[in-house]
Symmetry: C2
Subunit: 112 residues, 2 copies
DNA sequence: ACAATATACCTTGTGATTCGAGGTATCCAA
DNA sequence: TTGGATACCTCGAATCACAAGGTATATTGT
């Protein structure tokens, strides 16, 4: 019954999250703003995108979560596991492959 | 209600199609193979993606279609309209913006 | 003291997009 | 004559991203 492969260009939110978490552990709300910032406002992903992705990354073992009370609120800090590093590498390779493909297409003769 | 904006990274099939049609008119089946070729096999879009996009581009005035019998079959050749050139320019700008944003994110300190 | 905004987490419904599989028909080669 | 390539098309389902909401606490402004 039509077991669809993931859309050819999905996984960018995942990629960005994993990449940010290489440097240091961060929490969800922070990641939302951080993505906007590090992409120079080019990409803005809402909480409705980020939280579910974080949860799924945790479920599949790419991230581990740590609850940490700060003030009166609770933050959930995420950090990369070994698997997460592998996953990041894969996504990064995928991205470069398709990014390169598109670039080749756009640069071929016959300017726009 | 929730009138969703288009997903932040869609429109790549559209972009590739328009870009290919800058050089010369082409027909659907040809475009399917051509996309695979010009992207160095990095991107492979099936007919189920291409045909609907072509139809919608025709409907909104970016492309014009010309039916041409070849042998016993009929090919539908598409070519860019003036609007299509504008649309291509926009999509190309969008793409470069987000592509650049992701690159910035991936290249920031703290290697993978 | 009170209201508004910011922080911080979350889920749900919907909409847009892509995917895979199928359907039709013709042509050519084994 | 069977099968593969060409050439068009559509449909159902999976996937994803989006907006909007909901909860709760802290901070800032008035």
């Amino acid at each position: 019954m039509a077991k669809s492969n993931p859309p050819f260009m999905s996984g960018v939110p995942e990629l960005l999250l994993l990449r940010l978490l290489v440097n240091r552990e961060m929490y969800g709300y922070e990641l939302v703003r951080s993505i906007k910032e590090v992409t120079g406002e080019a990409i803005s992903l809402g909480e409705g995108v980020i939280y579910p992705v974080l949860h799924s990354l945790e479920r599949n073992g790419s991230l581990k979560a740590r609850r940490k009370p700060v003030g009166g609120r609770t933050r959930v800090y995420y950090s990369l596991t070994k698997q997460g590093h592998g996953r990041l590498q894969d996504l990064q390779d995928d991205w470069r492959r398709i990014q390169g493909g598109i670039e080749t297409a756009l640069e071929s003769p016959g300017h726009a």
